[in-house]
């Protein structure tokens, strides 16, 4: 199962650094696995934790949050807010039984296309080891419809 498992990873990138790093990785023909779907935000500080939770709830196996290196934020200090929210979110998800490894924060400047590629490769491998999350399937199979029918049948018999 895990050999054939292709993780779905949502990557949130900052317009000023990591999105350009991904662009650079493309023009420089840096190879990295195609599992990450990148979404551009204006800043990692724009990342509402709702986005991450919604991605996981809707079937993503992992989420990658990327932003400018500390001290280099285009909006002065918003990446620090992203850092604090990330640390809060990891703890919260851990209590929900979601492995903290499934949410990763990476700092990548516009020049670090190669490094971004490496980080993506690393994350994809880690998630491949961890296995699928499949939250929608968990929600669908939470016992309500299937189990009730079973119970009703028992009553009839």
């Amino acid at each position: 199962m895990t050999e054939n498992f292709e993780p779905v990873i949502i990557g949130f990138t900052c317009n000023w650094c990591s999105y350009r790093a991904a662009d650079l990785a493309g023009t420089a023909r840096v190879k990295y696995p195609p599992n990450v779907r990148l979404i551009r935000l204006m800043c990692s500080g724009r990342l509402d934790p709702t986005f991450v939770i919604k991605a996981l709830a809707n079937g993503a196996d992992a989420v990658m949050i990327t932003g400018c290196h500390p001290g280099e934020c285009h909006y002065i200090e918003q990446n620090y807010k992203a850092l604090r929210r990330y640390l809060l979110l990891r703890r919260t998800l851990a209590q929900m039984g979601i492995e903290p490894e499934r949410v990763k924060l990476v700092w990548a400047s516009a020049a670090e296309g190669v490094r971004l590629g490496q980080e993506i490769t690393k994350l994809v491998e880690e998630i491949r080891q961890l296995g699928p999350l499949q939250w929608p399937r968990l929600l669908a199979g939470d016992g309500h419809p299937a189990e009730i029918e079973l119970a009703v049948e028992e009553v009839a018999a």
């Binding site: 509402d48 709702t50 604090r84 809060l88 979110l89």
Partner: protein, 348 residues
Amino acid sequence: MSDNGKPKFAMYWAASCGGCEIAVLNIHEKILDVDANFEVVFWPVAMDAKYKDVEAMPDKSILLTLFNGGIRNSENEELAHLMRRKSQILVAFGSCACEGCIPGLANFSTPEQIFEAAYKSVSTVNPEGIYPKSSYMMPEGEIHIPTFYPVLKTLEQVVPVDYYMPGCPPESHQIAAVIELVVKVLHGEAQLPPAGAVIGAGNSTVCDDCPRERNEKMIKKFVRIHDIAIDPKLCLLEQGVPCNGIATRSGCGALCPQAGAQCIGCYGPAEGVMDYGARLITAFGSVIDSNDPDEIESILDGIPDLTGQFYRFNLAGSLLRASKPALASKSGPALMSRGINPHGNGQG
């Protein structure tokens, strides 16, 4: 129950504590308006009526049903479908029906853990180890009790809901206002709000109603209210008390913060908030006064139970709804028919 031509009213409780019914009775003499304008046909806590009486009513014959409580077992679900079928207007009444509330916190645990806590831990005196079973053979024949579901669901996760009335419980003056509105609608003096609306609450946050003074928040340490001498005038969050007012819908009049206790979020997510906990993570993340990962971690240690802080009232209604082990667990019927407890004889 003779048909006196008055529109019919029902109230039902599923997985709840009964506080919502107390809140309804707490509207004092306004309860007489309910009686003057409605025929109460079904209200288990206040009058005797059988499920089969409701089943015998024509579909859509009840004008207004206030449904409180979450959907925890097969009986709750059956009644949710029944009340939906018989009611024209179904209101998810109170935090439990809207978003799971305190009973929804059980969604952190598997049914095994819940049964363990309820029947084997110190919480219950149960020396014989009696355990519920979904079916049991009596001399007279096989009897059944409702089956326990692996997770609690909100009302809207089971049936379509017309209106939502948050609060744990909804404030009595809000209930009175809603009843007044419905009575006006009956007399053609007012219009019903658009379907799916949140009624009996404000559109802003608890902070908007809170009289405490607000300045820039810079938190170096989270505290609990018994740790410090609370400044009676200053914003609680500014003092390091993790107050949820920022993300919570207004409607209560900011009662807790005015009494010196933090808002715990019983009125649910504010307008436009998709995931209450995520909104609080955003807010708390903004006000922590540190840029050093290690220092941030130690500041976060000041909130001992993060998910309890963020999802106290709306775990079941949140985007994730439950913890992974709870969602992946075996359902109640399997658990109860297995008869986990080897010592119990199953007779109560």
